[in-house]
Assembly symmetry: C2
Homo-oligomer: 300 residues x 2
């Protein structure tokens, strides 16, 4: 079934213990769409600036990613993030951010996409998430993401997003910031109270936790011996998860649990190289193979 994602497309400068890359393709919607499109057609709502190279657009066009919702703004540059990771690869340090197009942009969903049943609102301003959601006609499953910036600066907007969507996908730090609960079981319970029927908390190398109306499930991460660049792991996780659900057209608890595996596997590929380099060569066969290995790894 058709899948839509709203979010950012960005330039990333990133330094990790494995090296440095400048002005590589990044952004929440990019990672999500790339990851999800391994499994299902994924239509992208995002904005880039005048400096966005044709080469990156071509890269996206080579995948099952719909680009009719990718707006190129003429008088401003693309969102640009510069960050680094130290020995603890779970924590990104931001050097600087140039918001650029993200400060100007209002999302428009092309009419032919407004009936898409699966929708992911990746990290973006709550007002943009709501603007996109307003254009959708009765989607079957909508999950959202957010980040520290919006929890700080537009908590009210975020709470509306939570009430109007089926669930939220957060990392552990964000879940704690949003709920003021250190314990993640209690944090998930508060996310339910705030309106998210489905709460998914990602813990990087420590795996992920799912709570659906209080019914829980947890997974360790797929064991990756060499993490090269964790950037985009969370968005790839969400992409694998939603891609899995959309491919099967399922949204029940069992499907969500299996989708958590798919998300974990997709993120494990993402972190094996910089930017989209590992995901670029990922196909369904390699994905399925690792799913099998992971099920073996988890089997009792």
């Amino acid at each position: 079934m058709a899948l839509l994602v709203l979010g950012s497309v960005a330039f990333d400068d990133v330094r990790t213990p494995s090296g440095y890359r400048e002005r590589v393709l990044g952004g929440s919607a990019t990672y999500f769409a790339w990851a999800a499109s391994t499994l299902v057609q994924t239509d992208l709502i995002a904005a880039v600036g005048r400096d966005f190279p044709a080469e990156f657009t071509e890269m996206l066009r080579g995948r099952k990613i719909g680009l009719d919702g990718l707006v190129k703004m003429a008088d401003i540059d693309t969102f640009h993030w510069s960050g680094r990771y130290g020995e603890d690869l779970n924590v990104a340090q931001t050097n600087w951010v140039k918001i650029n197009v993200l400060g100007k942009w209002k999302p428009v969903v092309p009419p032919k996409w407004r009936n898409h049943p699966f929708v992911f609102l990746a990290n973006d301003a709550p007002q943009n998430q709501l603007a996109a959601l307003d254009q959708m006609v009765k989607p079957r499953l909508v999950l959202c993401d957010t980040r520290d910036l919006w929890i700080d600066q537009d908590r009210a907007g975020l709470e509306v997003v939570m009430k109007r969507t089926d669930g939220i996908v957060l990392n552990d730090g964000e879940a704690r910031q949003l709920t003021k609960e250190r314990n993640l079981i209690r944090a998930a319970s508060k996310l339910h109270d705030l309106g998210s029927r489905i709460a998914i908390i990602k813990k990087g190398e420590h795996g992920a936790f799912l709570s659906v109306e209080g019914k829980g499930f947890a997974l360790p991460a797929y064991p990756v011996a060499e993490v090269v660049d964790p950037t985009g792991a969370g968005d790839s996780f969400a992409g694998g998860l939603m891609g899995y659900l959309a491919r099967r057209g399922e949204t029940d608890f069992r499907a969500l649990k299996r989708a958590m595996l798919a998300g974990t596997i997709t993120a494990s590929f993402c972190v094996e190289d910089f930017s989209l380099d590992r995901l670029r060569s990922l196909d369904v066969a390699a994905f399925d193979r690792r799913m099998g290995e992971f099920e073996q790894f988890l089997s009792l």
Copy 2:
């Protein structure tokens, strides 16, 4: 099958966000034996001092814990640890330690226990671990624990222990300190190189990882909404794990994986109250119930 543990019996002063307890019963061997004895008879090799109260000895006697190897030294006090936990309950801060008996004691295994097939060398000086091991006759499975102090002060002794035992049970910080590898998959691989065929890395609220000659398995923690006191969680984990194996008389990979569940469950009870308070009322029925819930929680 019979199970032997060598380690410490201690007084603990502990402060957590939930409260403060002074001079409560603690120590690596105490937690281990208490946890394991829910499942199987557990014989204890440890030393206490002249100040160890009869009430604590009676508490231990009430369980299936053999006390013929518990030495009471006349002219010195019991090992005493004072520590605290902040918001991050994964990390204990030590206020002070009074080594007392632990600096004087040489373990003696009563002859009737020397043929025990299952042996756990809980945290103690490597020379004491080796002294106990020297007295055992062909045990079937020996696992050991250690801590930062011994990795720093007697690495050579610890490496001999690792070569002479089947495996090691460590927390993530200790595994990193010992192997100088941040990534736990690589850390486990180095533990194998150092002689541990079985490597078990505990990650507190993030679960645990098992590697047997490179074959891996991981588990999230059992979800505990309110952690009161994490002291002894690691020792309880080891106690549940070894108790499970000794009860079944099994040591293969599948049994080790199931034993990881048993350890996780036992630790989840331990942290629900101070000292041994929750483990004191634990019986096989409550243990089995939670094992069932945990399997449900993990099921795909």
